[in-house]
Symmetry: C2
Subunit: 419 residues, 2 copies
């Protein structure tokens, strides 16, 4: 039983945050393409960034910036241009963005974090961004979270946001978040971005550790096509405006906050996987029996990322053999005679060998979960994943990973668009 | 300029080898499904096997067998059942196959190596195999290589074989080989298999080292979908029937033999990649400038395996951004400002930034290479790959990897077939 509840909203649900999202003309389509998140007061800030060696200028900027100073007051994010592979010009563009947003907000440039998503190798039209800033700041409001979530979308089909609320010694703590997915319809358009806002008071060191662990269990456990982008970033702010006691040391309060943060990250991660290009359903792989959690997570990721498993799920085929083969190549040693696999609770393999099972029921399960992955109003749901359970031994290590099925539309989306 | 030439034939091109391939009724389709390769005399034997922890019984058998005894006289391989995830029954089946083939050939069971490819989790119908053995041995001939190559096919569209011949101090040395690809049309049907026959005399230790290095440069550098199978095996025999001087130590003769062996493995590897499921062309990624060859090979493999790169090539899209992003996530550190990318000799990126290039010419190159990947008679060609050149720095490390494009048919093949 979780100690929090979900409430409506996203990054502006927590106290002391405003946000806006507008169309600044950066995207040729005219869709919203510029988002701003602002905390009323300087917030503790930390981030987790792509490990891609071709990382984009804003990623380098934020990583360096947060290493030297653990606070921030604003995050500006454009969609349309990734500002990756842009060299010195790209670096200067990041500095210019921080400067212009800081001026508009009346804060120091070093309090502004910068993110980008879009086409690699194209410069950001800074003039258009500058011209749009008065409108952007005028639109800042405490219910601007959804507009901001929409403005960072590229090929996402739906905006992704969540907010959680918990009672906390008679007061209320909230964490909100928004994300965009790994859609790559447009050539070179990559990026998983997530921005998280929290109104608790927490020490920078703890907040950083919490975010890293939360990412390891959520964003680092999703895979759409295995292609880590040049711009992947998760940035989390904590501004203390809940007026709850500061969390400065590990303990029950820190644990509760980390659980909430992990829940926010997990929801957003699942929403990204569900919205993978061409996906018709969310796949959740639960691995147990490993020597430790890291090993379990690695096996789960490998299965969730297997093209053969993904294709089989798209075909609604309860193909235990492909799951077993993917587990076997994950780089985690295990005794094949210990392998057990089930799908939606239907056992398909035990002690390394197939067991008779009701194929029609397994197929029906897959069909039903896929159908439930889109609700009657056409909205995506993350509440009905295809659940694959795998046990590889007798250890206590557990891990979960999420992915999506591989459909014709993935190929269509990624092949048919020609630059 | 290579010191050998290609000749017709496959595993029976070298002296002292016979082979056969017949339909033993193991496949429901009635297609050929049982292959036998026999050396007239005991041959030096070595193998390289899958690292998948769910490896099949015949893989475990051959690995153990070759660790204790470095010679063999026959390889029997069935298609239809992989004999993977079959437990103790599967192990007994391997022993029974070795025994029955040994009896039929009048050799010791330990001289018989066993391989399987097909559906995971199904027992091999040993009675049918036993009944077919008289026909199989009666069909053994020194031009039976192609029949054997056909009998190990599962979802391969074409048989894969090659033979090379070199003049060697006035005499002739030949190496032949055959392979089947990573086709996985049938659920759970996996496996890359290659069998190589050589008539040179070489020491077991050298032969093993040569094969490992050759595999690292060839079979380990191809990727269709990243799904390592439970049965992947490469077995190489050398029977000394060329009557050329024994190669017992490293030196010019050993180098020449290894170059030939590597050429055989490389051809077969490329043929497997070209015949990847749904593939319309072969992709060759050449990486240079790495700190060492292993790093270069890793970057090359990552690019060749990127779903986004594969989709772009299928769309005939000269998408340098995806190539750059894949290089960046390969786990090999490099300075982004050193990255250079070209496609078919057309420079698309230099010093980490895009350069203007003729998009129409690049698109035409992709269209032309794909068209040339199938010759007018409908045969697949490995001589016209889409060549992606990537330089990541100033080191001397070089590496090549091969893959294929990702088409609708890959999804169709792997999703639409339902167990």
């Amino acid at each position: 039983m979780s100690h929090w509840q979900r409430i409506t909203g996203g990054v502006t649900a927590a106290k002391g945050y405003r946000a806006a999202g507008i169309a600044a003309g950066l995207k040729a389509s005219g869709a919203a393409d510029l988002a701003l998140i602002v905390s009323d007061v300087p917030a503790i800030a930390t981030g987790v960034f792509t490990t891609n060696h071709m990382c984009a200028a804003p990623v380098t900027y934020c990583r360096q910036r947060l290493q030297t100073k653990g606070t921030a007051q604003a995050i500006v994010c454009n969609s349309g241009q990734a500002n990756a592979a842009t060299g010195e010009q790209g670096w200067q563009a990041v500095l210019a963005q921080a400067e212009m947003v800081a001026t508009a907000l009346g804060v120091s440039p070093e309090m502004v974090l910068v993110a980008s998503t879009g086409v690699i190798g194209q410069p950001i039209p800074l003039d258009k961004m500058r011209q749009a800033l008065p409108t952007l700041t005028a639109n800042l409001s405490d219910d601007g979270g959804e507009a901001a979530a929409r403005a960072i979308m590229t090929t996402d089909l739906v905006p992704k946001q969540i907010a959680l609320e918990a009672e906390w010694e008679g007061q209320t703590i909230r964490i909100g978040g928004m994300a965009k997915g790994s859609g790559m319809i447009h050539p070179n358009m990559a990026t998983m971005l997530a921005f998280i806002t929290c109104d608790a008071a927490v020490s920078p060191h703890l907040w950083q550790e919490m975010l890293q662990r939360a990412c390891d269990r959520s964003f680092n456990q999703i895979t759409v096509d295995g292609d880590t982008s040049t711009n992947d970033s998760v940035i989390a702010l904590a501004n203390g405006q809940s007026r709850t006691p500061a969390i400065a040391e590990p303990g029950p309060a820190a644990t509760r906050l980390e659980e909430m943060l992990t829940a926010v990250c997990t929801y957003l991660a699942k929403a990204i996987a569900r919205d993978g290009e061409g996906a018709t359903c969310l796949i959740e792989v639960q691995v147990s029996g490993a020597s430790d959690d890291a090993a379990a997570r690695q096996v789960a990721r490998t299965i969730a990322g297997s093209m053969l498993v993904k294709s089989a799920i798209y075909g609604r085929d309860p193909n235990w053999g492909r799951i077993a083969a993917a587990a076997g190549r994950a780089g985690v040693p295990f005794d094949a005679s210990n392998l057990a696999i089930s799908l939606g609770g239907i056992a398909m393999m035990r002690q390394g060998q197939p067991v008779p099972f009701d194929r029609a029921a397994a197929n029906t399960y897959l069909v039903n979960q896929a159908a439930a992955s889109t609700d009657p109003s056409g909205q995506q749901s993350v509440d009905h994943p295809v659940v694959i359970e795998v046990s590889i031994g007798h250890g206590s290590g557990r891990g979960v990973a999420w992915g999506c099925d591989l459909s014709y539309d993935y190929v269509k989306i990624n092949a048919e668009y020609t630059t």
